[in-house]
Amino acid sequence: MRQNSLQQRLGLNTLRFFVLLVLLFLGIILWEVFSKGSGVINSGFLFDYPRKGMTLGGIFPTIMGTIFVTLVTTIFAIPMGIATAIYLSEYANDNGINRLIRASIRNLAGVPSIIYGLFGVAVFVQGMGLGSSVLSSGLTLGLLTLPYIITTTEEALKNVPHSYREGALALGATKWEAIWTNVLPSAVSGIVTGSILGLSRAAGETAPILFTGVAFYLRYLPGSVYDSFMAMPYHLYILSTQHHAIEEVRPLAYGTALVLLSLVFVLNIIAFIIRYRYRNFNKARI
């Protein structure tokens, strides 16, 4: 019996240690980037163009490029994702074609991001003749985030109680009217949360934009969706592996990593807060 309890103490403490180790990984990454990156962050770094072969100056065009391409992703992926989720949650019964749709979405979620890059090159850049552009990259990233937005939105819709729909239908509303007036308003925070998380993922991706529109260095911001652009993740990649003076630009790489990580984390924290408040709001309502 004593040996048993010793074993139990040892075992449970090992599990505790594993959790701490996972947290430690996160802590180490954050500490490394924040402690070494914060030194270079100032208004010049955020609002200037790179200068002298990217050894001086800031990352302004990469921030704008990332925002620009994420906007295109938003415009494409969010309506598409919400429409699909509404179909799956509200209309689809369990027949062959709907099972095929669900299986496709689950499998799309597991397709490696570089494959989306290949698809973007073959279909958007060359097939549709959109060229190496914000539009090609935005659409490629849109496809990548689509399964994510669909899954989270569907979950949000499924959490709306059935009585909400039935109430509207009993008053003579059509199915769409019930969805529009009763289901969507209740699910909106869940949908927003999922969309923000999906976009934060798109903003940090590199592989899908590598060949579909991102540029090493540009002296101008993209003027239209048909221009190529600079982006933060790709900028970090070239500063840390492709630059001619890698050691010299290391502080700038840390700074870029910090700005990118901050953007992604701020989006995640916003999503978390919305989800948290929504949870309390729902508790109060039911």
């Binding site: 048993n4 890059g117 290949l118």
Partner: protein, 293 residues
Amino acid sequence: MQKRHFIDIAIKWLFFGAAATSVMVLLGIFGMLLFNGVKAFAHISLAEFFFSSNWNPSAYGKPSYGILAMLTSTFLVTLGAMLLAVPLGVGAATYLAQVATEKTRLILKPVIELLAAIPSVVVGFIGIVMVGPFIARVFGLSNGLTALNGAILLAVMSLPTIITVAEDAIRSVPNSFKEASYSLGANQWTTLIKVVLPAAYSGIIAAIILGMGRAIGETMTVLMATGNALAMPRGFFDPVRTMTATIAIELGEVPYGTTHYYSLFAVGALLFLISLVVNLLAENLAGRYRYKL
């Protein structure tokens, strides 16, 4: 028919169209990879592609297209990542699902999701500036950008997937299983190891497979942190170049429509098939752990 009923039907079909797009995209990806990939085999024999470890498409005179070395590299890095991530991930998932208080769990889960949110290019950067040099110092290597470096980073990246899915599986084990074990006099640890984990077995395997899929398909991290050497790796201390990294490195500089260009799509097609098998396998297993009581 009233206008509002017409709108109702039109909207249903509009949403069905959006949903059907996902099927078309998946088929489109597969078709595109196959269509372009097959063209590579007009000039490459299947035997050379799969069984030669010599990849040198730009060689003057006689280019070679063997993927064995990069296939091995992909599996070596993935294997290393799983050796680290499986015990850690399943252990952490067990803790979150069965040992931690509800409050601890609610705090830790979003923190682990935060780990999943770190862009892969940032993880690769950490590999270059921190993990790689650390490995070089500890093992006395001249260069830390090795398969081991990639394995460690991919382990960190696949941890959130493994933890989330495994935790879900472990939590879904009915309480009655545990209660039966306790009533027979077993303590918490014995119950966990002998009852709860075996009951969640297929879900845990699904979690591991999904984590593996994440590691196999990861591009930027391995591209930045594993040294990108084309030779057949002999172990974890060799630099490697995976399938994903090869596509990322070469697609940018290859002329459109050449055998080299098509061969990269062939590599992509193989990668796609691997990810498809991984997903279907995980899905099949994950469906099994749900206890209907």
